[in-house]
Amino acid sequence: METFLKIPLLSVVTFLPLVGALLLLFAPREREDWIKGFALGVTLLDFVLSLALFIYFDDGVAGMQFVERVPWIKQWGVSYYMGIDGISLLLILLTTYLMVLSILSSWSAIEKGIKEYMIAFLLLETGMIGTFCALDLVLFYIFWEFTLIPMYLIIGVWGGPRRVYAAVKFFLYTMAGSVLMLVAILAVYFLHAKATGHYSFDLFALYNTPMSLKAQLLLFAAFAVAFAIKVPMFPFHTWLPDAHVEAPTAGSVILAGVLLKMGTYGFIRFAIPLFPYAAHKAIPWVSVLALIGIIYGALVSMMQDDLKKLVAFSSVSHLGFVMLGMFAFTVQGVQGSIYQMLNHGVSTGALFLLVGMVYERRHTRLIADFGGLARVMPVFAVFFMIVALSSIALPGTNGFVGEFLILLGTFRSNPVYAVLGATGVIWGAAYMLWMFQRVMFGPVTKPENEGLSDLSPREVLTLVPIVIMIFWMGIFPKFFFKKMDLSVERYLRDVKGRYEMVLKAEEAKAFVARSQGARER
């Protein structure tokens, strides 16, 4: 298990796309099919390798697996420290899986610079997987920041009319958040070094950094803002609709499917366990913002006349659920939260793919321009229906499992939040079904829509894996949960344990102060 045939599997999965991108640099520009095929091959191979991770992952072990650790920048105590537990494993699989679909979906949508496009995507894949594996704070930060570059280019070069604005906004928002995190990382590092005399960016060593409560709150805030921008939580979400609407289809799929998860993952792996006391103090704040996100995102979705904007705002709503569950600090809540990350990646990714397919045909995304598509494109309509229902969280689909667990977990910690969150499910159904009705049903009002062709075999091939995942994850959730059960339990035990330790220490301190005060009197 430690090393599969002595191969550092995690590094291979992470850096294979980078190698692919470097090889693509030398590809002749004219051989477009060759370039596309090569990129698809690389992502497929990476997916297969990540399946090997899944298979060889030992469910019976709660700690990090496939660990690789090499000193890197010795002077600073930075090491190349990679490892995964059940939480990151599933997110890596989501990444490699969505990458294959994204490359497939770009087959005919990209007209210029296909070579650079594929290189950007492969670089992005390395950055994303690395972010989910890194267990050293500097390594993590490097992967985290690195993903900005390819995504910036993808939006800016291959995006829609307002792509420059969207790309720059995306870059600056994320960067502004993460540089503050950098200062916080450094602060934790030096606090730890001061207490132990040992300079290290090792995440697990830093988990046990003794610090004052004020420092915890401040540092947690710096981490939380960086991650909240990425998630994005209300009120940091304004970059998201712009980026989504302007990005090319595959860019939106990856943005929604994976990049946003880097924010939520950041909370689980870094912000919360590093500062458990502050995280517990922040429960009401985060929960209320998450609830605002759920309801506000849903209401704004309902009012959109552009399909892609609708899906973008629905992301704000769905990610609100993820955050709500995570900050319930119950097993169900956290598991539901992680499951919802995967669900959102699958179903929102699929929604973007579907919108992209119809956009390629009609070059419009306005809901008003459609109507009656179910009659012209029946296969498309069926796929759209399944994905929409998954997004609504119909029982039997993946969405149901996630949202149900989140609400269950939240109910156990705070019923009011759960009740308010549950209204979001209703709103979700409302905007999704209303949109579906306006686009698919009724008579074909626009003559341009009469002659639309139904899905091509390649497009069906892109969507079938998603439908399979939707039902698989909806009907056999156990298959996925068993990979993360132990990891989540360990995470909660650890976070709560250290939170209670801080509380006890505070109580003891207060007691000592009181008794001293009494003695002096």
Binding site: W72, I73, K74, Q75, W76, G113, V138, Y141, I142, E145, F146, L148, I149, Y152, L153, G156, V157, R163, V164, A167, V168, F171, L172, M175, A176, V179, L180, L182, V183, L186, A187, Y189, F190
Partner: protein
């Protein structure tokens, strides 16, 4: 006291062997420029290049040694060697970049390369100065050569204006510096850096000779001019814009490195006793420098001018490490200067290669569509810009990481926060160049680009540096840390 007892072939000469080498090559190149006629004068550049390569040789004997030579006028130690290597690398890259650039601009004569070599020798002398007079000597050798270089495009009014401006303000700055040295001498009675330190170490001195504080202030003003710290930066944009691009690269990296070497020497060897007096002052200077540099850079429409303001901002980041005033901070300054040299020379090299004779093409608009017209140049430029913006995995990120970590460790949290926020602001104008390069259609009928093999080699070396320091910085970090142990 044995004044000027010189050990002709041994220790004393080893300490200045590299300077002497460069000086003799400067003279040789000057002569060669007279002998060669017409177009063939550009071969002087290759001779200069060879001079830089040869100047690396004395390193073999000098590494690991530490002593003062010429009766305490110069010092050979890891710190001076670090800067000498940096200055040689900078000079080598600048000459490489100049080979075709000067031919294109019609300034490829012996004097050009002779002046570059002279300036490098001056910079090295500054790095190895153990005495205020040597320091001033080095500074002037460097400055006067650079004044002439800035105006070497005689037919170009902007170049001449740049030289004139730089000369006038530079002369004032030298005056300030000299006056500062004089006041320091007046109050301590010493010019040798260690002796000054010894005098100031007696606590009572400060109360009886407060004049040394005025001296400190004047020294700071003098160095501030050379480093283009706000508020002494006014000359920078015009001079950087007007000077030949290769010389701008030289000024932004070499001159800055040498001035920082001098500043580190004077402040940490001679004036550590006054630390309490200059720390807060430099804190303000650092913040003002990065903030103003970045904010004004946001609005620039000319890439060269934008890079000029960006270099002001970078001096501000470097000052952050300086303010920390710990061993970590000083090492961070050294590392930053190396990283900055690679990325900045790289960026200026691309700017130079995109121009043509009589059409510098340095406006942002001229960069429209460059990403597709010159894909390789544009990729290189993108790497340099991301590095300047401090995005991993580049040298710029590691350098910023280092200076800000020094600030955090020294307890300057706000300085670090202001620094990182500044680098987020700065990302905007670096991205803007990329927006033009990749996201805009090329301008009709605009000819850009000038093929240059030597320029391409310079860019490749700079790229190597950016990635080497960004991905595998360990060796350089160790070097920087060892070099600052002299303080």
């Amino acid at each position: 006291m044995e004044l000027f007892k010189v050990d002709v072939l041994g220790r004393d000469f080893l300490a200045v062997a590299q300077e002497l080498g460069l000086l003799s090559f400067a003279l040789g190149v000057l002569l060669l420029g007279v002998i060669l006629k017409g177009d063939r004068r550009r071969y002087t550049g290759y001779v200069a290049l060879f001079g830089y390569v040869l100047a690396f040789l004395p390193l073999l004997g000098a590494i690991g040694r530490g002593y003062e030579a010429f009766s305490g006028m110069v010092v050979l130690d890891p710190f001076s060697l670090f800067f000498k290597v940096l200055i040689l690398v900078v000079g080598f890259l600048v000459v490489l970049l100049s080979l075709d650039y000067t031919a294109r601009e019609g300034i490829a004569f012996g004097e050009y390369y002779a002046l570059v070599l002279l300036a490098s020798a001056g910079m090295m002398l500054m790095a190895g100065a153990a005495h205020l007079v040597t320091l001033f000597l080095g500074l002037e050798i460097m400055s006067i050569a650079i004044y002439a270089l800035a105006g070497i495009m005689r037919e170009d009014a902007r170049s001449v204006e740049a030289a004139f401006k730089y000369f006038l303000l530079g002369a004032f700055a030298s005056g300030f510096l000299l006056y500062g040295m004089a006041l320091t001498y007046a109050s301590t009675g010493a010019l040798h850096l260690r002796e000054i330190e010894g005098v100031l170490a007696q606590k009572a001195w400060l109360t009886s000779f407060p004049l040394v504080l005025v001296g400190l202030g004047l020294l700071l003003v003098g160095f501030g001019f050379k480093l283009a710290l706000v508020p002494f930066h006014m000359w920078t944009p015009d001079v950087y814009e007007g000077a030949p691009t290769s010389i701008t690269a030289f000024m932004a990296t070499g001159v800055k490195a040498a001035a920082f070497a001098g500043l580190l020497r004077v402040f940490f060897t001679a004036l550590p006793a006054l630390e309490g007096h200059w720390r807060e002052l430099l804190w303000v200077l650092a913040v003002a420098t990065m903030t103003l540099g970045n904010l004004v850079a946001l609005r620039q429409e000319d890439v060269k001018r934008m890079l000029a303001y960006s270099s002001i901002a970078h001096a501000g980041y470097i000052m952050v490490g300086f303010v920390a005033a710990t061993e970590l901070g000083r090492a961070a300054v050294l590392f930053y200067l190396f990283a900055y040299a690679f990325m900045n020379i790289g960026a200026f090299a691309v700017v130079a290669l995109l121009g043509r004779r009589g059409a510098p093409n340095t406006l942002l608009e001229d960069y429209a569509g460059v990403g597709f017209k010159h894909p390789l140049l544009a990729v290189a430029m993108a790497v340099f810009l991301f590095s300047l913006a401090g995005v991993p995995p580049t040298a710029g990120f590691m350098a910023k990481f280092y200076v800000f970590s020094a600030a955090v460790k020294a307890g300057y949290y706000w300085l670090a926060v202001l620094g990182v926020l500044n680098s987020a602001v700065a990302a905007y104008y670096y991205l803007r160049v990329m927006v033009y390069m990749y996201f805009r259609e090329p301008k009709e009928g605009l000819q850009t680009g000038y093929p240059s093999f030597a320029g391409a080699v310079a860019i490749l070396i700079a790229l190597w540096g950016v990635f080497q320091l960004g991905i595998m910085p360990s060796d350089f970090l160790a070097l920087a840390q060892r070099s600052v142990q002299v303080f």
